[in-house]
């Protein structure tokens, strides 16, 4: 039974790692801020959940589990909130998403850099 | 030798980057940033001294017998506090300098001082 649980935990961890890398690539490769935000925001929350659940399944003492659960809840609150705040401010300050691509050549300067 | 000392060498490079920022950059805030890097790398150096291979964090528990050296950790705790105190004071000074001189670039401030004389 223990073996099964911990191997499921391992699976979670692995999945978390893979998604984390996918998210990271997304953040690096996507064309504009909002799509990157999407990759980061969604990716982060999912990865955190997966890895922490994986660790919980790995584990032993109840105190550790409680702490993990607290961290899990905290990140579940904090991550979306900060993503929300960030995106909202960006939008309100006039940063616009990219909808069309005219030329590949101009790709370098993405947008009216802040202020 | 390379394996045994590489850690210290990296610390030295970090220190020197921080030091370079402090003396070469004209912007006051950036100088403070350099100071932070400089100090942090010294902290890393101290902590590296205390590390023992195969040992664990110096919190006693039944299942471990070898612990890293706690003394550098204590010293660095103190040093971090000193560091933040210096930073806070330096930044407060910068704010006042900005109000008084209207600039936070070293050479502009020097210029304004020289004009007064």
């Amino acid at each position: 039974m223990d073996v099964i649980i911990s191997s499921i935990g391992g699976l979670f961890l692995l999945l978390g790692g893979i998604i984390a890398i996918i998210g990271g690539i997304g953040v690096l490769r996507f064309p504009d801020f909002y799509t990157r935000m999407h990759a980061a925001g969604v990716g982060d929350t999912l990865v955190t959940g997966l890895i922490l659940v994986g660790l919980i399944l790995q584990m032993p003492e109840w105190l550790v589990v409680i702490k993990l659960i607290i961290i899990l809840f905290m990140t579940l609150f904090i991550n979306p909130t900060s993503s929300h705040a960030l995106t909202k401010t960006a939008f309100q300050n006039g940063l616009l998403p990219v909808l069309h691509k005219k030329e590949e050549a101009n790709k370098g300067d993405a947008g009216p850099s802040t202020r | 030798m390379i394996v045994g000392l590489y850690n210290y060498w990296i610390v030295v490079i970090l220190m020197m980057i921080g030091f370079y920022i402090v003396i070469a950059q004209g912007n006051l805030i950036k100088k403070i940033a350099g100071l932070i890097i400089f100090q942090t790398s010294v902290f890393i150096f101290y902590i590296s001294i205390g590390k023992v291979d195969g040992a664990t964090a110096p919190i006693l528990a039944d299942q471990f017998s070898q612990y890293s050296n706690p003394l550098p950790h204590v010293l660095i705790l103190t040093a971090i506090v000193v560091g933040i105190a210096t930073t806070a004071l330096g930044l407060a000074l910068i704010v006042r300098i900005k109000e008084a001189y209207g600039s936070i670039e070293e050479d502009e401030i020097q210029e304004k001082d020289n004009q007064e004389c």
Binding site: P60, T75, L86, F91, L96, H100 | T56
Partner: protein, 97 residues
């Protein structure tokens, strides 16, 4: 598994850092810093397990909090929080590159 996940997180930390360095906009940097922070939290958690000292979780908790606070602080004091700017031409959201 633990090690694999730890390595993966390290790689992602690096990716996030690159994004933070190249920008190009200010918000991209905040995004990268935020992502970097959450990944550090995970990294510390995993490290605690790898090294067999799960007491380290306290530190992870502090990291999560501090990360949040610094993101809020950046937003609050970057001067973009207080005032509202019209986001360009509202009718056609989006722009061509």
């Amino acid at each position: 598994m633990l090690i694999a996940a730890t390595l993966a997180i390290l790689v992602v930390m690096f990716l996030a850092f690159i994004r933070g360095y190249i920008g190009p906009t200010f918000y991209d940097r905040i995004l990268a810093v935020n992502m970097f922070g959450t990944k550090t939290v995970l990294f510390i958690c995993l490290l605690g397990f790898v090294m067999g000292r799960p007491e380290f979780l306290d530190i992870a908790m502090v990291y999560a909090l501090i990360n949040f606070i610094s993101v809020i602080a950046i937003l609050r004091y970057s001067g973009s929080f207080d005032e509202r700017r019209p986001p360009g031409n509202r009718k056609s959201i989006g722009r061509d590159v």
